[in-house]
């Protein structure tokens, strides 16, 4: 901790985003970076709390106060070691984590200006790569083999941990490249795919074997391994089963997001296959983060305009008394994609898709709903009001979340991990799950 009063004298400074007019023309990362001096100043704001709520809130238990102090002192190598002690991929979370830690940071509680923990985290890792603090190591092999199915963040972190413990690890993925949703879901403007390549190369150098483009039948796992980690994510998106669903122009969010990322990697798609918003009026159904990623992608594909609708009511703006500090606040969130422009509406349910007569979608009939508190204190009940209207559009993106996959009870030497185990979640939770699963596998195999 630097000056114990720094939190009062040094204001929180975010690196900020590139200007909208510039960033909507490309797919490069939106977020900027601070220079080293400013970064250290930001880190000096941390109070090194006796009870660090940031650390408590982070699913990985990242020890922010320790590495903030190291950053403040300019000891980036120490910061890197401290950080990588709990987090295998700080370069991912440092970019796309919703920063649960910052919401719980004591400084968020008392002056509404938490330490810039996430950005600091990212800068530590970038420094580590730039300065070569992170070096591939070779670990003594213990003669046991583990297969990891699914190369998303959960699988990758389980693989990393197991490799360190001396297991020979092979990672399978049905896609051409490793990374899971981080590669094929999260848009490049949030996380450049070079970041994933760098990490996967590093893991390869440490001796992890990647077998991509191979879909594994979970009923018939490949032979020759002592244990299996199943980290296959949540492949099934939630569908909207209403009249007109089979009209043309209605897509799952991931169809578009994933294709866009693949195009940027140089893959080619035929005219027919291409899902593009160019010149279209787009309606995004689903008010979450996936929806917001769709909005940003539409902008960059030069859509005419975008509307996002959500069935739940609009959350309060700054403070929600129902979710006080240190808990995650349920409040209105405005992403960079929202800043780029779009109409956002709440409390709307979709009744049917409308046909333009040629089998294409031309709009959606929506109806306003109200949410009444349930008499038994449970979840509020939805009541339709009968107020209907039509939202005109020629493209619909369904971003209503993912279904929790039904896996047969894993057991014996098969371990479930990441979204596959918990249902759709966050990268940081996926990594945490990967680490935990690796420990479970280790304690299972250790004495075998």
């Amino acid at each position: 901790m630097g000056d114990p009063k720094a939190f009062l004298t040094v204001p929180r400074q975010e690196a900020g985003h590139r200007p909208v007019y510039e960033r909507v023309c490309d797919f490069s990362e939106v977020e900027q970076v601070l220079n080293e001096g400013e970064r250290r100043l930001q880190a000096s704001r941390c109070m090194d709390c006796g009870v660090p709520f940031c650390h408590w809130a982070c699913p990985l238990g990242n020890k922010a106060p320790e590495w903030q102090d190291a950053i403040y002192h300019g000891d980036w190598e120490l910061a890197f070691k401290l950080l990588s002690g709990t987090n295998d991929f700080p370069e991912f979370t440092g970019r796309i984590c919703p920063a649960l830690c910052e919401k719980s940071c004591v400084l968020n509680h008392c002056i509404d200006a938490p330490v810039t923990i996430r950005e600091d985290e990212c800068s530590v890792m970038e420094k580590a790569f730039a300065e070569g603090y992170i070096k591939p190591k070779q670990y003594e092999r213990n003669g046991k083999k583990v297969a990891v199915i699914g190369a998303g963040p959960a699988g990758l972190s389980a693989a990393t941990r197991l490799n360190c413990l001396g297991y020979e690890v092979s990672v399978y993925d049905k896609m051409q490249k490793a990374g899971g949703l981080v590669r094929y879901g999260i848009p490049n403007f949030k996380l450049d795919k070079y970041i994933i390549n760098r990490r996967v190369d590093f893991m390869t150098q440490e001796g992890i074997n990647f077998i991509c483009g191979t879909k594994i039948d979970l009923e018939k796992l490949p032979e020759g391994y002592d244990a299996y980690v199943v980290a296959t994510g949540t492949p099934q998106a939630r569908d909207l089963d209403i009249p007109g669903r089979d009209l043309k122009g209605i897509h799952f969010a991931l169809e578009m997001l994933s294709q866009q990322n693949r195009i940027l990697e140089g893959e080619k798609f035929s005219q027919k296959e291409t899902v593009s918003a160019k010149g279209k009026k787009v309606l995004v159904i689903g008010g979450g983060d996936t929806g917001s990623d769709c909005i940003g992608t539409c902008h960059r594909q030069e859509s005419l305009d975008v509307t996002q609708i959500e069935i739940m009511p609009q959350p309060p703006k700054d403070f929600n008394p129902a979710t006080p500090w240190p808990y995650w606040p349920q409040v209105l969130r405005t992403s960079t994609s929202h800043e780029e422009g779009c109409t956002r509406r709440w409390s709307l349910t979709s009744n049917k898709f409308l046909d333009d007569g040629k089998g294409n979608v031309r709009g959606v009939e929506v109806e306003r709903v109200e949410w009444v508190p349930s008499p038994d204190g449970g979840r509020p009940q939805m009541v339709k009001t009968g107020e209907k209207e039509v939202i005109e559009c020629d493209m619909v993106l369904l971003a209503m979340g993912f279904l929790k996959p039904q896996h047969p009870e894993a057991g014996g030497n098969v371990f479930l991990c990441g979204d596959a185990k918990t249902g759709a979640s966050l990268v940081v939770r996926a990594i945490a799950s990967g680490r935990q699963t690796a420990a479970e596998v280790d304690s299972y195999l250790k004495d075998k």
Partner: protein, 968 residues
């Protein structure tokens, strides 16, 4: 105090002095560097022989390996002694994959006690070379269990690494020197806490209390006969040592050691009593006023997976009755009181909020040791009083005025604080702002140090006297005494009960403040359970429990905690940290830095503005707690809280919570019930002998004068059984007129004879006491505006200035008023004076100790250690023998001749007044030739005070300049 040691063999026959007694090595401090150890090993000088014995054992052999190794080590040591080796170096340097280190304390203590038992200990010195030693406490323990010197080679290696890497930007020698210096300071602090002043008396003194070690282990290796709660055996120690050892050699190695969160919460670290969930849930529950959430909170705390406190093993015998039959919450809640937290440590806002909440509930909040702004005595907010009902009297006596005391319902003598026993409070200068300075009668910006002991309590009789003093000044108030849980506290408490305390507080070690020194947070004090049980049992055995109430504190949080402590004997409960958490504290632990972001433990106005606590939150907290207690009472089948106090038979021990380490615990001593018909809870009041004191007569005789502010003159005979004369009268006047008192010279009383202790204590403004004769100790204790003069009988043949006329510790904690003593006084004259004016004709040692304000004129010799810890006020000393500087403690002061005009005038006026009031012959002589005598005076100015005086002078000049400019 000194850390210097002479180590080596003590000559066999100390009765015949010869050169063999001098074969010693002198060490300036017990921590020695690697080079020094090397030198010691290689003294090529006749009669110095060294040998290294490895403190290692074979980890593959487990417990047996360890116990064999210890036995072998003891025998090796014996053989070395027989060979004439006078420096045995116990080392764990040889540690490798197949050799684990024997915990150094175990090894040292085992050898020490073995050698003592075969009468061969003094022939050799034990020196420990161990990688384990890092903290001050490690060194203290090794020394306390017999080591002569220690070499913490690992600490030095870490320092070297830090220097090499550049993280420590200084050269290695300086860094190492700083480390040793820090350990030295820590050792001195630990020594002083135990009342020991040289390392030679500390070595081998074993003044430690071990909690959680089995009697078997203690007897075999630590030379201790009993264990309070039993605990682990050698087996567990071996297991732990082996686990650490194998961790050290496990693969793969990480380059960072794990941070286990000793002082800060870590998810993967050691357990802390306050977890983030517990803090958040408690805050939300009390803010929203939701009892359901409060139950969530208590269940988080009570269902902790691993027990942290001894009480966590308790369950209670059930015998349910309908809850309606149990006494109401409003009754139970009165048993909960606010912990002592000084305003000064806490912000004004926080302190007031606590008072408000407890007053609303009809309970009591505590001022803490810093006094209280007198505006609060009668101030209200929404019709509720802001006055803290418990007024603390601590060793510093800050803010202890007569007015303060008469506004108390309970006066608490703070003998020690659980989390930092033996240490005085300390308020750093930057926290002392205008208002704090005002309430503490000190000067803004000057650090305030409380002396470790009360200078008027050196024995139980002294304590009885102080209780008597306080009872006199405020007969309505209960007098309580705060002790800390430790072994032997029962005996002390029995003494305190006999000294007529109404209430005894057993303060547990867990009630730490973030402002305690780090070495105290972890290593000082014991669990309140142990202290409380011992106290309860001793009081019953002496049939004293019925006359006193017992209160306890130490991280109490839930209804279960309350019931547990009640069953062990407590009838009242104090809360510290929990209160602050309810008011928004998030345990950032920045209390000492004045940077509390929640505006609780800070004086910074900007931060104070952030305070968000409300009295209602605390009202909720205490009410919920009472509700939960009531539920427990119903489950246990008791209608009144009173009926469960001391019923330790209702506790059963939940062995399912025990693990390998805790399974050895034995609660039978803790839960023991004394077989006696004596009361087990408070049932009668103490009989204070304040009904026949002289003051009753004084009050009667001055009634008209006091009512009408008319002067009155009286005269009495006095004998030394008349103790604390003047206190009750002053209390009476002050409750009527506040600190204003009466106009000067209203009540004039002349006494003839020999006054008992505490003559003129608390004397209020407008009261003047003249004593023709002599007086005992404590004259003018906490003087609050009155004037006292003491002089020999008119026709006495002796020279007054050559003879002692008054006892020790005069003017202790005085805040205003004057005293003139025609003759010499005893030790500690004007100790902790913060505003009174005194003239005396000579003193013994420690005059003006810890003084923070006022004037002291000494017309004669002073004794040693003059002005130790003096940070304010001025002293003028007539240096007739020209040797005063020799007697002075120069740490914090400066000496000079009297130069300024204002000072000269002040001194002359005081000597004149002295003459006028006492007829002093010495004063007469001096005034007759004043200019000559003036040159022989020395002015004593505290350095901090000098700065303040200069600033004041400049401010005055500036004001003049401003005025001049305005005239143009």
């Amino acid at each position: 105090m000194s850390l210097t040691e002479y180590i080596g063999a003590v000559g066999m026959n100390i009765l015949t002095p010869d050169s063999s007694h001098c074969k010693m090595v002198r060490l300036p401090q017990p921590v020695i560097t690697n080079t020094e150890l090397d030198t010691l090993c290689n003294i090529r000088y006749k009669g110095f022989y060294t040998e290294k014995l490895p403190m290692l054992f074979d980890p593959s052999k487990g417990e047996q390996g360890l116990s064999d190794a210890l036995e072998e080590l003891c025998r090796e040591a014996e053989r070395s002694v027989d060979k004439g080796i006078n420096y045995i170096i116990l080392t764990d340097r040889g540690l490798d994959k197949d050799h684990a280190a024997i915990p150094s304390l175990l090894a040292v203590s085992a050898i020490h006690h073995y050698l003592v038992s075969i009468k061969k200990r003094v022939q050799t010195a034990l020196i420990v070379e161990s990688g384990e030693i890092r903290e001050v406490m490690h060194t203290a323990l090794l020394l306390g269990y017999g080591a002569s010197a220690v070499n913490p080679y690992m600490a030095f290696a870490v320092i070297k690494e830090q220097v090499d890497k550049g993280t420590l930007q200084m050269d290695e020698v300086t860094a190492r020197h700083n480390y040793i210096k820090a350990v030295d300071k820590g050792l001195l602090k630990i020594l002083s806490k135990m009342g020991i002043s040289t390392i030679r008396s500390y070595r081998g003194a074993k003044i430690f209390e071990s909690v959680g070690l089995s009697g078997e282990l203690l007897a075999k290796y630590f030379g201790t006969v009993s264990s309070s709660v039993e605990g682990i055996t050698l087996k567990t120690i071996a297991r732990d040592a082996i686990r650490l050892h194998s961790q050290a050699f496990a693969q793969p190695q990480t380059d960072l050691l794990p941070m286990v969160g000793q002082y800060a919460f870590r998810k993967d670290g050691i357990l802390h009593a306050w977890t983030p969930e517990a803090i958040a849930t408690l805050q939300i529950a009390t803010r929203e006023g939701s009892y359901a959430k409060f139950k969530d909170f208590t269940s988080i705390v009570d269902s902790r997976k691993e027990p942290l406190f001894l009480r966590d093993f308790f369950t209670f015998k059930q015998n349910p009755i309908p809850i309606e039959e149990v006494e109401p919450e409003e009754e139970i809640v009165k048993r909960f009181v606010g912990g002592a937290m000084s305003f000064g440590a806490l912000s004004d806002e926080a302190h007031e909020t606590i008072a408000l909440a407890l007053n609303k509930l009809g309970s009591r909040s505590n001022t803490g040791e810093g006094g209280e702004d007198n505006a609060r005595f009668h101030g209200t907010k929404d019709g509720v009083s802001l006055n803290s009902k418990v007024k603390q009297v601590a060793s510093g006596r800050f803010g202890v005025t007569t007015e303060y005391l008469v506004n108390a319902s309970e006066i608490q003598i703070k003998v020690a604080q659980g989390a930092k026993p033996g240490e005085g409070g300390q308020l750093p200068g930057y926290k002392v702002n205008e208002i704090i300075a005002r309430t503490r009668h000190s000067i803004p910006g000057i650090s305030l140090i409380s002396p470790p002991p009360h200078h008027d309590i050196y024995s139980i009789e002294d304590l009885a006297q102080l209780i008597f003093d306080l009872k006199n000044v405020n007969p309505q108030a209960k007098i309580s005494v705060k002790l800390v849980a430790e072994s032997g506290v029962g005996t002390i408490a029995a003494g305190v009960a006999k000294a007529k305390a109404d209430l005894i507080i057993i303060s547990g070690a867990e009630g730490g403040t973030g402002a305690s020194p780090i070495s105290s947070i972890r290593y000082a004090g014991v669990s309140p359970e142990i202290g409380l049980a011992e106290t309860q049992q001793t009081l019953i055995m002496n049939n004293l429990r019925g006359a006193v109430e017992l209160q306890t504190d130490g991280q109490l949080k839930t209804g279960k905690d309350i019931i547990s402590m009640a069953l062990l004997g407590a009838g009242e409960f104090a809360f510290g940290t929990a209160q602050l958490i309810v008011l928004g504290c998030v345990l950032m632990r920045k209390c000492h830095s004045n940077n509390c972001p929640m505006g609780i433990a800070t004086q910074d106005p900007e931060l104070r503005a952030r305070f968000r606590g409300k009295a209602d939150y605390l009202v909720n907290f205490y009410t919920f707690l009472a509700r939960e207690v009531r539920e427990y009472l119903a489950q246990m089948g008791f209608r009144r809280f009173q009926d469960i106090i001391g019923r330790s038979d209702l506790i059963s021990i939940d062995t399912s919570k025990m693990d390998e380490k805790t399974s050895g615990l034995d609660f039978s001593k803790l839960l023991h019930r004394v077989d006696s018909p004596a009361a087990i809870s408070k049932c009668r009041d103490q009989k204070h002998n304040i009904f026949t004191v002289l003051d009753r007569e004084l009050i009667e005789a001055t009634r008209y004068a006091v009512e009408n502010k008319q002067p009155v003159s009286l005269s009495y005979e006095i004998v030394n059984t008349n103790r604390t004369t003047g206190a009750m009268l002053s209390g009476h006047i002050t409750s009527k007129y506040g600190s204003e008192g009466l106009p000067d010279g209203t009540v004039n009383v002349t006494f003839k004879g020999s006054a008992g202790q505490s003559f003129g204590a608390f004397l209020a403004k407008g009261v003047e006491f003249r004593l023709e004769g002599e007086a005992n100790d404590y004259i003018g204790k906490s003087l609050s505006g009155g004037i006292i003069s003491v002089f020999p009988p008119a026709r006495s043949p002796f020279e007054a200035s050559e003879n002692t006329i008054a006892g020790n510790t005069i003017l202790y904690g005085a805040t205003s008023g004057k005293i003139f003593i025609c003759g010499k006084a005893g030790e500690r004259f004007a100790v902790r004076n913060s505003g009174a004016i005194a003239v005396v004709e000579g003193t013994s040692d420690h005059c003006c100790e810890y003084m923070t304000g006022g004037r002291v004129v000494v017309l004669g010799e002073t004794g040693r250690n003059f002005a130790a810890g003096m940070s304010g006020g001025l002293a003028y000393v007539w240096d007739k023998n020209r040797n005063f500087d020799y007697y002075c403690n120069m740490d914090m002061i400066e000496l000079s001749l009297i130069e300024e005009k204002a000072r000269k005038e002040e001194l002359k006026a005081l000597v004149e007044e002295h003459y006028r009031r006492t007829g002093s012959k010495l004063a007469a002589r001096m005034l007759a030739d004043w200019n000559h005598y003036l040159e022989e005076f020395i002015q004593v100015t505290p350095i901090e005070y000098k700065k303040v005086l200069q600033e004041e002078a400049i401010r005055k000049i500036q004001q003049k300049i401003d005025n001049v400019q305005r005239d143009y």
